[in-house]
Assembly symmetry: C2
Homo-oligomer: 588 residues x 2
């Protein structure tokens, strides 16, 4: 071993010991008679002291050490006179007796500090240096701990982690696959999995009644901000269970993670909202429950007063913003601008101030009396001092607009605290969504999602009304997991394909493989998958997943550190019998 201790473990109790440490030079301060060096490793920082009086040769050598040099140093631990109580090792220092430069370092392209001077691209290009920064390092350690706790919980609940293949088959439905040309069978391709969905269902057919896997998945999407072409999910499936068994099991997982990793215990069961309830009260299927400000439907009480914008709207909804009745005209105009900029279909905003003295003032005083307005306030359960914001138009456009407005006001009022967590289940999603262009229904989740048992009789008469046995776990407005009970009954599966407009032949072509497996005794089963990158970022209190991935790609899907994707050799393409077809042909 090159060292006796790490840079994070020495305390005053170690005073007097001779120790050897290894690490990187964080900073060096030359105070004339003394030179202080902060030595950093994964575990912390320890101060080294070089004394010009007692050991001038060594001290002069130490002064030549640059930032990020790697050294091995031996010396005696002693209590510091000038203690730094912000770090665990701040009460001691090492009086250096000798050191060895294990490796020098060029000047790094940015400072390895919390508030680094490196921009995003630079930090990504030198990701191996960025990973030295304590916050990024801690994110990786958090990720490791969370993966460990996931496995602890799942293992103790009888789940078996089974590795599924990465070189699988491309499926025409769904998002775009990454494909991998086969050299042994030129013209044929593997595909990288978007998720192990069918494979985990096959494992249920195999009888592995509790499966999980922390697994990389791939999706060749046009990248949006904070999406990665490769991402990690906690993939789970169970047999012989009902929906509530599944929710209970994975609520247990989430509780275990919060408790073991963050020390947070939830006293109550997670709230379960139906999709309809979530849409009605929050305008979204991913509600942030850290604050109230719920949406209320004013449609029934505001029409017929001659205000044509309301009278011509299918839906009028509002939120009540606490303590904001004092908003100025300018602030209200700015909010109206925010709403219309959202491009949500909201054409304007009506406001109502419930003043502290009880008076009611609105932008539509002309049409509504104080008694009328009092009905709004009652509906919204507003208090004095609140500001009511009303949007109007088509329900399916106005609800998301109200959701956006609600979140915006939550941000402005600082109601969305990073260290508060409000998980909930959203259940009973619609089974189908109507595609206007293709005038057919699509499966909202996937075609193996089971309808709610009570809704099966609606499959043929009113597909749009059928609810799915599907569920999402939402935390603080972020969808962190989702899944469903699967169809295991052949006749129901047939009905499902019929409703989706598949002929039996088409169904067999696209899904014959798994339907074939289901002919040999498929158990009732269902599952869930959690977005692990997102979950870790949430636990880390950050919005972006990128700093919770060791070597992420940028928004164009590039790894700027590895400089990939990149051209490959002509020989490789020849072996694969592939030719770039050039832009023109590609766009034909």
């Amino acid at each position: 071993m090159y060292r006796t201790h790490t840079c994070g473990e020495l305390r005053t109790g170690d005073a007097g010991k001779e120790v050897t440490l290894c690490g990187w030079i964080q900073t060096s301060r030359d105070l004339g008679g003394m030179t202080f060096i902060d030595l950093r490793d994964r575990y912390g920082i320890t101060q080294l002291v070089f004394n010009m009086e007692t050991n001038p040769g060594l001290c002069e050598q130490a002064r030549k050490l640059g930032r990020e040099f790697v050294i091995q140093v031996t010396g005696n631990v002693r209590e510091r006179s000038n203690k730094n109580l912000r770090i665990p090792t701040g009460e001691i220092e090492i009086e250096a007796a000798r050191f060895v430069v294990l490796n020098p370092s060029e000047l790094p392209p940015f400072t390895i500090e919390e508030d680094t001077d490196g921009g995003d691209e630079l930090r990504m290009k030198y990701r191996y240096l960025d990973l030295r920064r304590p916050s990024v390092r801690d994110n990786m350690i958090l990720r490791h701990r969370m993966a460990r706790e996931v496995r602890n919980y799942m293992d103790s609940a009888g789940f078996i982690e089974i590795e599924t293949p990465f070189l699988i088959k491309s499926t025409p439905e769904g998002a775009r696959d990454f494909i991998v040309p086969s050299r042994l069978q030129p013209g044929s391709f593997y595909a990288l999995p978007q998720s192990p969905q069918t494979l985990k269902q096959l494992l249920m057919v195999s009888g592995f009644d509790r499966y999980f896997q922390i697994v990389r998945c791939f999706r060749d999407e046009d990248l949006r901000a904070d999406r990665q072409p490769e991402f990690t999910q906690i993939d789970c499936e169970m047999s012989f269970v009902t929906r509530d068994d599944i929710l209970d099991t994975f609520e247990g997982l989430v509780r275990h993670l919060f408790k073991s990793v963050k020390g947070i215990e939830f006293s109550e069961p997670f709230i379960r909202l139906t999709y309809d309830e979530a849409m009605e009260s929050y305008g979204t299927d991913k509600p942030d429950l850290r604050f109230g400000m719920e949406i209320r439907d004013l449609t029934g009480i505001v029409k017929g007063r001659g205000f044509s914008l309301f009278d011509n709207s299918g839906y009028i909804g509002a939120i009540s913003v606490p303590g904001c009745s004092g908003f100025s005209r300018k602030q209200l105009d700015e909010l109206t601008g925010f709403v219309t900029r959202q491009q949500s279909g909201a054409k304007g905003m009506v406001w109502l101030k419930y003043e502290a003295d009880g008076t009611l003032r609105s932008s539509v005083d002309k049409f509504y009396s104080a008694e009328d307005l009092m009905l709004w306030v009652e509906k919204l359960q507003s208090g004095r001092g609140d500001l009511v914001l009303v949007l109007f138009g088509d329900r399916e456009k106005i609800l998301p607009a109200l959701s956006g407005l609600r979140l915006e006001m939550g941000n402005r009022l600082n109601l969305r605290k990073r260290d508060e967590y409000k998980p909930l289940w959203v259940v009973d999603f619609p089974l189908f969504e109507w595609n206007e262009e293709e005038t057919r229904f699509y499966a909202m989740h996937h075609p193996f999602t089971s309808p709610r048992p009570g809704d099966i009789q609606l499959m043929e008469t009113d597909p749009g009304a059928v609810r799915a046995d599907a569920y999402d776990l939402v935390i603080n407005g972020i969808e962190t997991g989702g899944g469903s009970v699967r169809i295991h009954d052949a006749s129901l599966q047939k009905l499902m394909f019929k409703t989706l407009g598949f002929t039996e032949k088409e169904a067999a072509e696209q899904f014959g493989f798994i339907m074939n497996a289901f002919r040999y005794g498929a158990p009732p089963h269902g599952g869930i998958a959690f977005g692990f990158d997102r979950l870790v970022a949430l636990f880390g209190g950050q919005d972006s997943i990128r700093d919770f991935i060791a070597f992420p790609k940028n928004n164009s899907g590039r790894d700027v550190m590895l400089d990939t994707p990149a051209p490959v050799s002509e020989k490789q393409l020849q072996e694969l019998m592939l030719k770039p077809s050039g832009r023109k042909q590609g766009q034909e």
Copy 2:
């Protein structure tokens, strides 16, 4: 929940309880008055009884249940009169009161039993049914347990599991990469990692001084038997450590696995043989130490007696096979045939029988007196009753031939027991191997492997003699892990490239990326990777890794269950701006 218990947990203590079980029908036996059904799930088998006298309706229904039907059954536990002591649930049975068919099953294409009637291809095609067989199921559970124990050990030793990317960059050196076309950057490609080698070294540069990962790797090789295009390795790297620190740490891992998974404790430290010692005594760098029969060099004592085959050979070596002096002429001829069939360069075999009565008889009595032959016997430490087998020729060809002969005799004498494990480290591999065709040295491991500290001065004068700080873990003749201390010193790295015949420009082009990272303070580091599939198979007592992988590919790299690789749609290729070039162009 569909069930109160599993099919593996009921015992006589549960007699009298009403229980509900779910599972698959393993077998059904209609004995007239009674029908017995074995119900199977992941946890075991429980016998169900249907009584024609007490419940004729139910019993008749039960008789219609076919193999692999999935049912839910409720009934009372009772002690069996006719106990089956071979299974843990064999002392009880369930007197069925009612059941539900959760799913029927068609007749499976092969029987779901230990001795199945399904051939390899059929079992692979219906892998989801093959996985129902208890032995294959148990292999998956073993794999899960081993992965868990790897993580337990590594975590408690302070290692952090860090996920490295799968979409990386193709490197020209080494084995063939699988590549992944980029749609966003047509004509450019990602590559799937053959191992996270450079990435884990970057993590050391980042300061994560103890990294591991159980990770999928990919290699587009012309497949040999029992190789998979995707395979899993336990990938590890450490900083601030010497070779012995690394060996001690991972010997600890292997000991932990043997103890926790198989209950085996090794009392002694693992033997460490140098590469030279292993070659000399076993003719291979992967010796099977479950039995002796070591190779001895007779070159010095057999020459000069007029036997030209020996006199004209550079090397004469032998093994002494215990208790086989009674081999017939036919048996010896057959062994000679085995040796020459190996195509190893051994042109023939000389034998010597040390009879039980002490007499010595050999195939070369004409040339060697009893005193001469006694020297052989002494050299080999043969006992009476042993058979000495001698091969001769070029040392580098004869040693492997002797190794093959030794293993063959070990097999014949049943000395290679499945339940015995003999791990050892092989160390001090040559750093370089000479490539005769290209008349240059190649790195035996990879160009970042460090020479043994004492051998650095030979780098320029005698590269072939330089030993590497590289090591393999060998268990029962199987290489289960390998690694090395890496070069972290820039000038040594330069010398390495020079020895390999790289110009500075070539080195920068091919390895500039990691060499660049090393300029910013690389710590001394080294690591190891274990073949996880192989390790699990070894623990499972089997030679083939295929049944320790849930969904393996066949020897042509095909997944016959998923039927992949397969053609993809024209649209996909257009989006990637790729064209199959056809066989002709591909071979230009």
